[in-house]
């Protein structure tokens, strides 16, 4: 190759990656980063979106949100919903993974059960919401079984009484989300070297000791990263709550996403909704930074 040709080639190598990345960067820049800037701008404007020349509002909309008791209720419900979901996703996922990994069940049964235990994962949030509405109808099958067993004295309106609604949607979400943990932990379990357990057997370790001193520490990186991701994603849940309770009755299941949605598209207060959306963004970003630092530290 001549020198000219070689430098031409070098230039091509230097420019090429940017060309390959350009469509993606264009889309992410224009449709993700720009809208994020826009929503922050909206939150400082009066009548954002609705008027062509909105005036500057300062921190008014943030003030309005922080003065709104429904916002604080939504924040609390979001926390409850998210924490309970993550804790139970982890517990159930771990229990199922450990059971499936046991050498006490035969391999065919194990394979069948693994497929069946993953089932809830294969359904859309809207469909999960509809299924649970049918199950938890006052005249539905859950009430009729519980009545028969004498666990409840009369029909419970799970989704439409303020005392039970939040627990009911949380339960539905727990059911819907544990397979992510199960699948990841199962993969993790299969990666733990067998000699660890053999060495423990020689030392006469009991089953629970092996669980606490070998299995759980080995799975810790997976547990932490999935919990963080699950936390971030569960915090953003919208359709499940929207379809089952719509945030009601009397705000008892209002979460940040339904609260924001209603501000924007029921009361058309898009400025205040933007302020609320920015608050959600900040919480998510904080958790994301934490997640990325954790991933890098690994």
């Amino acid at each position: 190759m001549t020198r000219q040709k070689r430098s031409h080639h070098k230039l091509k190598r230097a420019v090429a990656p940017y060309l390959y990345l350009s469509p993606s960067l264009l889309i992410i820049g224009l449709l993700m980063l720009l809208p994020m800037v826009t929503v922050i701008a909206y939150s400082f404007q009066n009548s954002a979106v609705l008027r062509r020349d909105p005036s500057f509002a300062g921190l008014k909309h943030y003030q309005a949100i922080f003065d709104d008791p429904v916002f604080w209720a939504s924040l609390w419900h979001t926390l409850y919903f998210t924490c309970m979901s993550v804790i139970f996703h982890m517990t159930i996922g771990m229990a199922f993974a450990l059971m499936l990994n046991s050498d006490r069940i035969n391999p065919t049964l194990r394979n069948i059960l693994r497929v069946l235990y993953i089932l809830p994962w294969l359904f859309t949030a809207v469909i999960i919401a509809v299924i649970w509405r049918l199950l938890l109808e006052p005249n539905g099958v859950v009430n009729s079984i519980l009545l028969q067993l004498g666990i409840i004295g009369s029909k419970v309106e799970w989704f439409s009484s303020p005392e039970t609604a939040l627990h009911a949607v949380t339960f539905a979400n727990i059911w819907a989300g544990y397979p992510l943990f199960m699948v990841s932990l199962l993969a993790g379990l299969q990666g733990i070297p067998k000699d660890f357990y053999e060495a423990a057997d020689i030392d006469g370790a009991k089953a629970y000791q092996k669980l606490i001193f070998i299995t759980i520490p080995q799975l810790m990186p997976i547990i932490i990263s999935i919990s963080l991701l699950d936390f971030i994603w569960t915090m953003q849940v919208f359709p499940l709550i929207w379809i089952t309770t719509g945030g009601g009755p009397i705000y008892s299941t209002e979460v940040l996403s339904t609260y924001t949605y209603k501000l924007a598209f029921s009361s058309y207060n898009l400025s205040q909704a933007s302020a609320s959306a920015v608050v959600i963004l900040l919480i998510s970003l904080g958790l994301t930074l934490f997640y990325i630092r954790y991933q890098k530290a690994r």
Partner: protein
């Protein structure tokens, strides 16, 4: 070797199987109930005591859904939008992943971090500016609005997934093309794409799934019945009819079929896509 004959040991095995059965009931009963209700009449669904198997098996709910052009349109819209987004996402993500996997360049690390962090941006935050944009560009209630917005959410994950896959492929292959005087573009299409099929399938499966499940943007950025997708269709069905539960369940079964089929046919790719973000 573990000893298997002590009574205590046998008791543990029995207890384990009881727990497995309880787990199975927990995981599968809601889905079984959806399926069996879709074959019942609306009155039988609430019969007392509940009938586990449909007593009077009927396909009337399916006939009602499949005979209604409005509902078929929901299905067409879902397939069309998810299909279009999948093709676009895979193409664009493949190019980006090739850039990430085969080149070193300034800003690579920060771009990678940017793409990882965009995965967790709350959809509700983007909804309001998207609504503003979509209305001002006059694409409210169109396929274009849905396809563009879905692309934003599918792309980051798809790029990470494809990059992960391309990194597993030996570099000698595309370097051989360079030695022969071929450009990186030639190497991509002649060498990389043909052997990347598993990665492409996993990415497509994941993208399709995400689009098929999307609710919030379909709810907000479309309005006319002819533009609605399956999830919105199910919600509409809930509002309109005086709770035709059997039809709702039939529509849910039909709406779940694509994902169930993909899972059964391509389980490996499905799991690869679903867990890629967490176990990278």
């Amino acid at each position: 070797m573990r000893k298997r004959h002590t009574p205590k040991d046998r008791l543990i095995t029995v207890a384990l199987h009881v727990a497995l059965a309880a787990g199975l009931f927990f995981a599968a009963f809601p889905i079984y109930w959806m399926l069996s209700s879709s074959f019942k009449s609306n009155t039988e669904i609430f019969a007392l005591p509940p009938t586990i198997l449909p007593k009077a098996f009927t396909l009337e709910a399916y006939a009602a859904i499949l005979g209604d052009p409005v509902k078929l349109r929901f299905f067409f819209n879902s397939y069309f939008v998810a299909g279009a987004v999948t093709v676009l996402t895979v193409l664009i993500a493949l190019l980006a992943a090739y850039g990430f996997s085969r080149f070193n360049f300034r800003g690579k690390g920060s771009l990678n971090t940017l793409i990882i962090s965009t995965q967790t941006i709350p959809p509700i935050t983007l909804l309001i500016p998207f609504f503003g944009l979509v209305v001002s560009y006059g694409i409210f209630d169109t396929y274009v609005a849905l396809i563009l917005t879905y692309l934003v959410f599918t792309l980051p994950y798809a790029i990470l997934l494809m990059t992960g896959y391309l990194n597993t492929l030996p570099r000698d292959l595309d370097e051989a093309v360079a030695v022969d005087g071929g450009s990186s573009w030639t190497a991509l299409w002649r060498v990389i794409v043909p052997i990347s099929l598993p990665g492409i399938v996993a990415t497509s499966v994941y993208t399709f799934l995400l689009c098929w499940n999307e609710f919030l943007f379909a709810l907000t950025l479309t309005k006319s019945t002819s533009m609605r997708t399956v999830p919105i269709g199910i919600q509409l069905l809930m509002g309109q009819h005086a709770f035709e539960w059997n039809q709702m369940m039939a529509m849910s079964v039909l709406g779940s079929l694509p994902l169930l089929l993909i899972y059964l046919v391509a389980q490996r790719y499905f799991l690869a896509g679903m867990t890629a973000g967490s176990v990278k």
